[in-house]
């Protein structure tokens, strides 16, 4: 089986006189060491899909269907809070778009990573500190031993994103859910972060679900992709295939709207 298998996922919110569907029957699988792009515009349901995998939806939302993870007996959607906690972080890590709001401004970043480590593994503070340095080196934060005592505001956007990825890797997950991880960054820094995800894939065999609105990022980073529109996956396939011969009219629209320059413009 694939590492993660989402099958017939439905997410709905209570609305006047019933339920308002936001994700409608999404099925998607991610293999080991694979980077899969989940593409769509704001409101298409791509973030909700990722959040439901870890039972992180807003309390009022209802998720049905099934989510299976290799090595877990039960359905992730049906797990108790205690069971799903073991999956969060340890099996599946999460990286958000806003590297500033996702970090606590009043603690040094190294301390925050240490907390994430100690939440999952028995370690003394000193051991956790050494492990933090190792993780920060892994995500190629320059001068990690010194930077770990910095507060989030002292780091640049790209450095904060590295810290968040380090934190997501703290418990050694098999899969990373990355929600628009480079959207807030300048292009030369975006290139660094995409390169980092690629190197984690080849180095650790990490799988990544890359959620983005940017088809160009998908083209450069992913092997497979799924396009979401109004809560549904309207197209799925190998990236080269989808770009070469998009079957769905919405995918064609999205592809036509991608900014192009140089010879690509003509």
């Amino acid at each position: 089986m694939a590492l993660l298998e989402i099958d017939g996922l439905e997410v709905a919110f209570p609305a006047a006189g019933g339920w308002m569907p936001a994700v409608r029957g999404v099925s998607l699988s991610i293999g080991r060491g694979e980077i899969v792009g989940l593409v769509g515009e704001s409101g298409s349901g791509k973030s909700l899909t990722a959040l439901s995998v870890l039972q992180l939806l807003p309390p009022r939302a209802r998720a049905t269907g099934s989510v299976r993870l290799e090595g877990e007996a039960g359905d992730l959607l049906a797990m108790s809070e205690r069971e799903i906690r073991r999956v969060r972080g340890r099996r599946i890590g999460l990286v958000f778009q806003e590297p500033l709001t996702a970090l606590d401004p009043v603690w040094p970043v190294g301390f925050q990573i240490g907390e994430a480590i100690r939440a999952h593994r028995r370690m003394s503070r000193r051991e956790a500190r050494e492990e933090t340095v190792r993780l920060l080196d892994l995500v190629a934060l320059a001068d990690a031993r010194r930077r770990m005592d910095d507060y989030p505001h002292q780091l640049s956007g790209g450095q904060r994103q590295r810290v968040l990825i380090a934190m997501a890797l703290a418990a050694g997950p098999d899969l990373l859910l990355a929600d628009e991880p480079t959207t807030a960054l300048d292009v030369t820094i975006q290139a660094q972060i995409l390169e980092l995800l690629e190197s984690l894939r080849t180095g650790l065999g990490l799988s990544v679900l890359l959620i983005t609105h940017d088809l160009a990022v998908v083209a450069e980073t992913c092997e497979r992709m799924a396009v979401m529109h109004r809560g549904r996956i309207v197209e799925e396939g190998r990236v080269e295939e989808v770009f070469r011969a998009p079957a769905d009219p919405y995918t064609r629209e999205l592809l036509a709207a991608v900014p192009r320059f140089g010879a690509l413009a003509s």
Binding site: E220, G262, A263
Partner: protein
């Protein structure tokens, strides 16, 4: 003939701390910039956050006072003008802002937003004439006439940006300065606003100073492009030339880092290490040398001047043209 001529422009911001305002240092946001915008031309300033491109635009309009340098508009030194004269000149150069949500007064109807510059710059107009001009302006930017009575919140992002452009045009400018005019808009709307700007340039003979980081927008509108890094211009070239044959290693890396919707293309991304240095303490020598893939000892000692490498193509690098993107230089290789 140049409409706008910027020479030796510097803008340094002091950084102070505490009650006594102890000086901690100086942020060199713009550190010696020269360029011209010719009549009827569109010049684009590109660069990443913090490169100083917005500060350059603000100095060019004298919205902030430069620390040093000269700004000449149509041959006249703008920095020598008193406040009243400056205001009178302002009708000839107007600004279009990035955020169409923040730049319109929410309590002012669209007709009044567009009509206000007319009150300031053409106080001789009667009420009916002014209303007529507002309707003309709305037509020029492709908005229906009934917009005059609408409020900003009733409009979409694209419509608001059209209002912002109509307001800038109301004064009858020769030069528009557009700071990231499409960045805040949805991808599908961007094209429409770019088409409008293109069309206005041709119909009204406007000159345009475009500040942008979206290369697709730049290539569509700009005749020439100036690339900024850490407060300086590192390369200037005609647009087609810059995109097909960039000479400065920063430009080469920047263009190669823009993701392209072309799966399976040979990876030709140059990934720069590190981050742009702080403008509080720029490195000695070339500002790009700490991240430059081809830096040599000389680069950390001498600052390379912006020099003409080929006719009309300037680059501030001792080794211009030596770095090319692996797998061919972007678009040029395919053309």
């Amino acid at each position: 003939m140049s409409l706008l001529e910027i020479a030796g422009l510097r803008k340094h911001f002091p950084v102070r701390r505490g009650l006594l305002g102890r000086m901690l240092g100086t942020v060199r946001a713009v550190d010696g910039v020269d360029f011209q915008v010719r009549r009827g031309e569109c010049l684009a300033l590109v660069g990443e956050s913090g490169s100083g491109k917005t500060t350059v635009a603000r100095c060019a309009l004298r919205l902030v006072e430069p620390t040093a340098g000269s700004v000449r508009f149509d041959g006249e030194d703008l920095l020598a003008l008193g406040p009243r004269e400056l205001r009178r000149r302002r009708r000839r150069f107007q600004m279009v802002f990035q955020d169409p949500y923040g730049s319109l007064n929410p309590r002012q109807r669209i007709g009044s937003v567009v009509g206000e510059p007319l009150e300031v710059h053409e106080s001789g107009l009667g009420k009916a004439e002014r209303a007529e001009r507002v309707r003309e302006l709305l037509g020029t930017v492709g908005l229906p006439l009934e917009m005059t009575t609408r409020w900003p919140h009733e409009l979409s992002g694209g419509q608001r940006q059209r209002v912002g452009i109509a307001r800038a045009l109301a004064a009858g400018p020769d030069l528009l300065v557009a700071d990231e005019p499409v960045t805040a808009l949805d991808v599908s709307i961007r094209g429409q606003i770019l088409t409008l700007l293109e069309d206005l340039r041709q119909r009204l003979g406007l000159s345009l100073l475009l500040i942008a980081h979206d290369m697709a927008a730049v290539e569509r509108l700009a005749d020439r492009v100036a690339v900024m890094y850490l407060g300086r211009i590192v390369e200037v070239a005609p647009s087609a030339e810059l995109f097909s044959r960039p000479l400065h290693p920063y430009t080469v890396s920047l263009l190669s880092a823009v993701p392209r919707p072309e799966p399976g293309r040979k990876r030709s991304r140059i990934v720069l290490g590190g981050e742009p240095p702080s403008p509080l303490s720029p490195p000695p020598g070339c500002p790009f040398h700490p991240r430059c893939p081809i830096a040599r000892p000389r680069c950390s000692q001498d600052t390379p001047p912006l020099a003409e490498v080929e006719p009309g193509h300037l680059s501030a690098c001792f080794y211009s043209g030596e770095l090319t993107a692996p797998g061919g230089n972007l678009s040029g290789a395919r053309a």
